[in-house]
């Protein structure tokens, strides 16, 4: 067997072996080579250390409200998207539409959707804004105000203050 260290392909073989992902037949051949090649043995030892180090890097747990926040964003975005896309829905369902026209619609929609802002632009009419405040947004808004109040309170508090946390 030629020394795997000499080629990238060979290094890939050593990588797979050191992570336990090399299939049986190649493993046997490589093990025979390792008995005679200190360079490859060192590579495997060093790479195994890397695998173990990477294995030890655990990611933090996911926030318990991850899904709730995601669905809230979907709800906010999808209603706007649905309003936008409704006139074009027959376009997307039609197979006979010229590709360029369909692509043009998609590009336009994609450009609009790629904008980071979720909240529709503010209207000068206050009542129009208020109409747009969905019931679920009321809870969200109140929670936000309350959170800011609590945060301000925590930031003001000194250790001697018996009401240091609301």
């Amino acid at each position: 067997m030629n020394c795997p260290l000499e080629t990238h392909e060979g290094s890939a073989l050593l990588l797979a072996y050191s992570s336990g992902r090399l299939e049986a037949e190649s493993t046997v051949r490589l093990q025979r080579h390792l008995e005679a090649c200190s360079g490859c043995r060192q590579f495997v030892e060093n790479q195994s250390a890397v695998w173990r180090a990477l294995d030890s890097w655990e990611a933090p747990p996911v926030s318990t409200d991850f899904d709730r926040r995601l669905y809230q964003r979907i709800e906010q975005q999808v209603s706007w998207w649905d309003m936008l896309i409704r006139p074009f829905r027959p376009v997307f369902q039609s197979r006979s539409l010229p590709i360029a026209a369909a692509a043009g619609v998609l590009i336009m929609a994609g450009v609009l959707l790629d904008r980071p802002a979720v909240t529709p632009p503010a209207s000068p009419q206050e009542s129009a804004q208020v109409e747009a405040l969905q019931p679920d947004q009321v809870q969200h808004a109140v929670d936000e105000v309350e959170m800011l109040n609590q945060f301000n309170h925590l930031m003001r508090s000194e250790p001697a203050d018996p009401t240091s946390k609301m």
């Binding site: 890939a12 890397v50 990611a59 991850f66 995601l70 964003r73 979907i74 975005q77």
Partner: protein, 201 residues
């Protein structure tokens, strides 16, 4: 092509089809199937993003954007590749953008001997000793730094290769490059990591 290979491809195709099939159901209006996809892939996407940007809050933010884009794209979804290829392509794209946006702001890690004026965080008796915790934290910091110093594409390739156990071909499709380019990325990345982490053996 012999029967054995056909069977393997059939099994792979079946596995590919399941996620893609779920996404097609989402396309048809089945919201529950989106929930199934979310349950199945939430953790791997968040963990990938966390290791890319090394900030948990940002990782969750980006992950939300990933799944939001998946959902938004449902009406035009076509299973031209494995679902996970598409998913991680979105995730990688967002991660690379986030890194580039904050790249010049990211301060260099410094070994600073300055002692703070606040007390060390208390550790309860049930936890590992303070020394053990410090050793663990120190090793973890080395690993994080080692990965953080990899160029972004090398980092993405390593994370997909190591933690998602993706094959070179799939990583190539995620990164939109050739398989040989992926091998080159991984070869250089692991070389860097061995140089920095081999002493931890």
């Amino acid at each position: 092509m012999d029967q054995r290979v056909k069977t393997d491809m059939g099994a792979t195709a079946a596995a590919l089809d399941y996620d893609a099939e779920l996404m097609l159901r989402v396309k048809d209006g089945d919201g529950a199937s989106f929930g199934v996809l979310l349950d199945k892939h939430r953790l791997s996407v968040i963990h990938f993003l966390y290791r890319m940007v090394q900030n948990h809050a940002v990782a969750e933010e980006l992950a939300q954007e990933v799944f939001l884009r998946v959902y938004r794209s449902r009406s035009t979804y076509e299973p031209t590749a494995k679902f996970t290829t598409w998913l991680f392509r979105i995730a990688t794209h967002l991660a690379l953008n986030a890194l580039r946006d904050g790249k010049h702001e990211k301060s260099q890690e410094r070994l600073d001997d300055a002692t703070g004026e606040l007390p060390v965080r208390q550790v309860s008796d049930k936890r590992p000793t303070v020394e053990a915790s410090m050793v663990y934290e120190s090793r973890l910091e080395e690993v994080r730094k080692a990965v953080a110093t990899l160029p972004e594409k090398q980092r993405a390739a390593v994370l997909m290769h190591k933690y998602q156990e993706m094959e070179y071909s799939q990583i190539a499709r995620v990164l939109n490059c050739s398989e040989s380019a992926v091998k080159s990325l991984l070869f250089r990345a692991y070389e860097s990591l061995r140089a920095r982490l081999a002493h931890m053996a």
